[in-house]
């Protein structure tokens, strides 16, 4: 129990010791300590530390040196490095201090288990300073009287320790205070420096592990001065236009040191400095005249200085100062050229004189005006004209001739030498030969071979060829002895037209032109190709030339590439001048894709694809087939027609056998058929067959005479019916009335009731429009509002008694017909009826005509008919009473039908005899 408390106390004691490590000898007695205390060790050296235990602790805590363990930070030092010197002292040895770290602690292992700290030290490991190297010093002038010396050196390796550098300097008999660098370890600045005494300068580096000194530098500080650059630099222009005087102030008195200078200058805007030869300014001075400058030019100057004997350093360059030389006369006349416009009339020139402003170094000042003199050389008597111009062009109206133009530029100092331009009446002299161009980097060289005669000058005109605007001419003059010139400002990929004129003393040569590119590129687009004509085996392609802007170079050729969908591409090269090409040997009825490529020297570009299909047949092929086929067909048809015509009887026999007409048979006249359907048929007229049936039934039994006339009228009636059924155009309302009335009148006698009945119920004059067979129905119908049929039937019953009435009625009707045909006034109704009939018959031609074509002789028929009809007039008139109006068109529409009438009525004539030949 006691020993346990003892250990606790001991532990507490040790803790206290740790908490106050430097309290040894203080209130609390430490149980031990380490020697050496806080060592500074050289890196890589060996080190031995001793831990010495206090005697008191030995007694109190029962601890001995053999129980000591050493630790670096928390890491145990291997036991092999320990050595127990005696019962209170343990040592530890490190062969290499680089393995050390802080803290190094001495601990005791009480009871073999519990570890207690006795003491700890901090270990600092580092390096001794190296000898500083490369010491160099420079004395900066800070102001007129103030100089500071800055020395720099290489401090050497890092020492890991606090190392102090001191710059030391001294005279043999005097020592100056050290210069201690602030914040840096490689330079120091001495503020007070004495000239003209050799000073010994060196650097001393010191730290806990040692001291090192640099080599000694012995120097007179005046020999390492970097002076301030000259101040108050001013420039004055002298009397001469080529001289400027530079003056300045020096910061350093000659008593301190004499200076030499460097002066540099450049033209304002230029970047290249020129330097006054150093030997010219190698002596002390405060001004210098710079000669050989250009007149009226702004120059920039700057100056620097250093000790005259060359010891020390150059000052910085002074600030730039500018000065302008005074003006001088222009050194040469402006280059002049002309453009002659003869568009108004060949004899009257518009001469544009153009000249270039002089370059600044030629103008030597501000050009105030140009003096232009024009002398007509063709007529000596004409006066010399003078113009003062401020611009750089002048336009004159001159008659065709030879002129001499003189131009002088004038500035405030004087005039330039004159420039003379001879404008001859014609450019008849020899031109230059062999004009050619060659690109040179960003310039275009134009070369030519001189003509045999002596050439004064050459004028080179050039302009950018453009499809949209005119060529804006630029020009340049070259002296007569050159045979080539570089054109500047030429853009690449643009076409230039360059013309060279030689100017002779007595005239001017004609211009030679060449087109040139500074640099070529492939075209910016390819030509768009399309077909002009496509045939079976060939296609004509057309395209437009690329514009100048698109060409980007000389088009060397066009290449046409065409192919079928699955075929190989075929390539055809075409001359660049063409815009059309015919592809041949194509496959018919095939889809072709064609595109076109324009090539310059630097590449090519392809235009868009164009597709076309070749034709299936060649030109004329279809015609060659179709025409014979048609002809053959026509021939066949013709032959067939002829054949049919020849054999028409036979055909007729087969196709249209002659069917006996029951209505014309005599037997039918007493057929007991009841014409009940008549009434219906008037409604039912669209069925002509029914009508025929009806017709065949109608008979007039009562009176032979009457019936004859009735009979006689029957065909008309029939035809009328047919006509009105099939084709209403020839029957007016009157016609319809006529048509229905005879029937009624026919049926009147034996079927009064029916008739009456019918009359009262039947709607009159219903005309049904229907095409007969293939014929188109044309006409209109009119509907009679009249109730006359009813009246008629009543009247007609009276008519039977006396014909006078009918005559009267006829008269009446005649009037109603009003002037229809005055020559036929005695039988208007007949006429009309006949016409109507005939009109109907006209429609039936196909039916009737074939039947009668071979039979009749017209005069006979007509005559007979007249007779017959004459006889039937009274009946017809009776019938006609019902027709209220007769449309004149009806009569007129078929004038020819009168001729045909005999054909239609021939059978009637026959019937008149009471015999039907059928």
């Amino acid at each position: 129990m006691f020993s346990r408390w003892n250990w606790v106390a001991c532990g507490f004691y040790l803790v206290l010791n740790i908490c106050s490590p430097d309290a040894s000898g203080g209130l609390v007695q430490s149980c031990g300590h380490i020697i050496p205390e806080s060592p500074v060790l050289a890196l890589g050296s060996n080190f031995t530390a001793l831990c010495i235990l206090n005697e008191s602790c030995l007694d109190f805590g029962n601890i001995y040196a053999s129980q000591i363990i050493w630790k670096i930070k928390n890491r145990l030092v291997p036991k092999e490095q320990y050595r127990e010197i005696n019962r209170t002292v343990s040592s530890v040895t490190f062969n290499d201090t680089s393995s050390l770290a802080t803290p190094l602690t001495c601990n005791i292992l009480a009871d073999g288990q519990i570890e207690q700290n006795i003491y700890g030290i901090t270990v600092t490991v580092g390096l001794a300073p190296e000898k500083p190297k490369n010491l160099s010093c420079i004395v900066h002038q800070v102001s007129r009287f103030t100089y500071v010396m800055t020395c720099t050196w290489n401090p050497g390796r890092h020492t890991f320790l606090d190392t102090q550098f001191r710059l030391k300097y001294r005279w043999p008999e005097a020592v100056f205070p050290d210069c201690i660098p602030k914040d840096v370890n490689n330079s120091c600045t001495v503020n007070d420096i004495q000239f003209f005494v050799n000073t010994e300068i060196w650097v001393e580096a010191t730290n806990a592990l040692g001291k090192a000194e640099s080599d000694r530098l012995v120097v007179d500080p005046i020999d390492i001065v970097k002076p301030l650059s000259p101040q108050n630099v001013s420039i004055t222009s002298g009397l001469l236009p080529t001289v400027l005087q530079l003056s300045w102030e020096n910061w350093i008195s000659d008593a301190v040191m004499t200076l030499k200078f460097n002066i540099r200058y450049r033209i304002a805007g230029d970047t290249n400095w020129m330097e006054v030869p150093p030997e010219d300014t190698a002596s002390p001075r405060t001004s210098f005249s710079i000669q050989g400058l250009r007149p009226y030019t702004e120059y920039v100057f700057s100056i620097r200085c250093m000790k005259e004997d060359g010891a020390g350093y150059w000052s910085d360059w002074s600030e730039d100062k500018t000065g302008v030389t005074i003006e001088d006369q222009p050194s040469k006349g402006p280059p002049i050229w002309r453009i002659i416009d003869t568009s108004q009339s060949p004899a009257c020139w518009t001469v544009h004189l153009i000249w270039k402003a002089l370059k600044p170094y030629e103008a030597n000042g501000v050009i105030l005006q140009y003096e232009l003199t024009v002398r007509d050389k063709s007529s000596l008597s004409s006066p010399v004209k003078k113009y003062n111009v401020t611009g750089t062009n002048h336009t004159l109206q001159l008659r065709e001739g030879t002129y001499e133009v003189t131009l002088i530029a004038r500035n405030s100092v004087g005039p330039s030498p004159p420039s003379v331009l001879l404008i001859p009446a014609s450019n008849s002299k020899a031109p230059v030969k062999n004009l050619r161009t060659l690109p040179k980097h960003d310039k275009l060289w134009v070369g030519w071979t001189a003509p045999n005669n002596y050439v004064l000058k050459y004028v080179i005109e050039w302009c950018l060829v453009s499809s949209s605007s005119d060529c804006t001419i630029e020009w340049q003059i070259a002296q007569g002895d050159v045979q080539g010139i570089d054109l500047k400002g030429i853009k690449p990929f643009k076409c230039y037209l360059i013309t060279v004129y030689p100017l002779y003393a007595d005239g001017q040569g004609s211009g030679q032109s060449v087109k040139a590119y500074l640099k070529q590129d492939r075209p910016s687009k390819g030509p768009t190709v399309q077909t002009k004509k496509v045939g079976k085996a060939e296609a004509v392609l057309t395209w437009n030339h690329l514009t100048v802007e698109e060409q980007n170079g000389f088009i060397r050729n066009y290449t046409i590439l065409y192919k079928t969908i699955d075929g190989n591409e075929t390539v055809v090269t075409v001359d660049p001048s063409k815009t059309e090409y015919t592809l041949s040997s194509l496959t018919s009825d095939t889809l072709y894709t064609v595109r076109m490529m324009a090539s310059t020297d630097n590449g090519s570009r392809t235009g868009p694809d164009f597709t076309f299909t070749t034709q299936k047949f060649g030109k004329g092929e279809i015609e060659a087939i179709v025409v014979p086929v048609c002809l053959a067909f026509l021939l066949i048809v013709l032959l067939g027609v002829l054949f049919c015509f020849n054999k028409r009887d036979l055909i007729k026999k087969h196709i249209w056998p002659i069917v006996p007409d029951p209505s014309k048979s005599n037997i039918a006249q007493w057929s007991p058929q009841v014409p009940a359907k008549h009434n219906i048929s008037s409604k039912d007229q669209m069925y002509p067959e029914g009508s025929f049936t009806d017709v065949s039934v109608v008979e007039i039994e009562a009176d032979d005479k009457k019936s004859f006339s009735d009979q006689d009228l029957k065909p008309f009636d029939l035809l009328k019916k047919e006509k009105s059924t099939s084709e209403g155009h020839s029957s007016g309302i009157g016609g319809s009335s006529c048509m229905s009335s005879p029937r009624q009148s026919v049926s009147d006698s034996d079927e009064g009731e029916t008739t009456q009945n019918t009359s009262s119920t039947v709607q009159y004059s219903t005309v049904v429009l229907n095409g007969y067979r293939d014929q188109t129905p044309v006409q209109v119908f009119s509907r009679s509002e009249s109730t006359q049929p009813l009246l008629d039937s009543e009247e007609r019953s009276e008519d039977h008694a006396g014909g006078a009435d009918s005559t009267a009625q006829r008269q009446q009707y005649f009037r109603q017909n009003g002037g229809q045909d005055e020559t036929n006034t005695d039988r208007p109704c007949f006429e009309r009826t006949k016409q109507i009939t005939h009109a109907s018959e006209g429609d039936l031609v196909g039916f009737v005509q074939l039947q009668i074509s071979g039979q009749s002789s017209q005069p006979l028929g007509l005559g007979m008919e007249k007779n017959t009809q004459e006889a039937a007039v009274s009946n017809v008139l009776q019938t006609c009473t019902e027709g209220q109006t007769v449309r004149p068109e009806t009569v007129e529409e078929n004038p020819l039908s009168v001729d045909e009438m005999p054909k239609s009525y021939l059978p009637q004539t026959v019937r008149q005899g009471g015999y039907m030949p059928q």
């Binding site: 009287f145 005279w171 043999p172 008999e173 005097a174 205070p177 007070d192 004495q194 000239f195 003209f196 005494v197 050799n198 010994e200 012995v218 007179d220 005046i222 008195s253 008593a255 301190v256």
Partner: protein
């Protein structure tokens, strides 16, 4: 206080100069070069003094700063080495004697100048005086170097420490003290002017290439 300490130290060092062996560095330089350097330094000091004197006399105030102020030389100013030796007489002296006289005179003048420096009120002027002092010390060293390079012994004994501590014979009043200062600067100017002539002459006499007997100097 600091500067005072340094100046005391420098003065002490200067007073012990005769006891010191010749300068190593000046040995290594040619005599002609040393002379040239000394001449340059003399010119430089003249130049410095010209501005410094103007400033200092202004500091002293009228009548000292008046351009035509030319007071009689007081007896008490005699302790300042006077350059007013007859020119012919001075020229008749040997180089050695002249150099020695220069050396002694500047040593004395330097000591007085330092006293003067310690009394100056304005920092700027003090700084310039200190700089001038340092330069003047350099001149003394240079002359010593030249003498060494030419093989002349450095003057000893009497030229060393001035009698009593510098400034010990305190001026009875402020004006007289100012008068002392005035004469000090005036003498300095005269000496520097004459030294410049001396060294110029010597420079011409001794070509830069000549290597003189330096061993003899050491032997001394």
């Amino acid at each position: 206080g600091d500067s005072w300490g340094i100046f005391t130290f420098l003065c002490a060092a200067l007073c012990n100069l005769p006891a010191l062996p010749a300068l190593n560095c000046s040995e290594e330089l040619g005599a002609g070069q040393s002379i040239q350097q000394t001449y340059d330094l003399t010119r430089y000091l003249e130049h410095q003094l010209r501005t410094l004197a103007g400033t200092y006399l202004n500091y002293l105030g009228p009548p000292f700063n008046e351009p035509d102020f030319n007071p009689p030389r007081l007896a008490r100013a005699e302790r300042v080495p006077s350059a007013t030796v007859d020119l012919d007489l001075w020229r008749g002296l040997t180089d050695n004697a002249r150099l020695a006289a220069n050396y002694r005179a500047y040593s004395r003048l330097l000591c007085y100048l330092r006293v003067l420096d310690g009394q100056v009120g304005t920092a700027e002027l003090r700084h310039r005086l200190a700089h001038f002092c340092a330069s003047l010390q350099g001149l003394v060293l240079s002359i010593g170097g030249v003498m060494s390079s030419l093989g002349y012994p450095l003057p000893a004994g009497p030229a060393g420490p001035p009698a009593g501590p510098p400034g010990a014979p305190a001026a009875p009043n402020d004006f007289l003290k100012k008068m002392d200062d005035f004469w000090l600067l005036k003498e300095l100017q005269t000496w520097l002017w004459r030294s410049a002539k001396d060294f110029n002459r010597l420079k011409k006499k001794v070509p830069p290439a000549v290597v003189t007997l330096r061993l003899e100097a050491r032997g001394f």
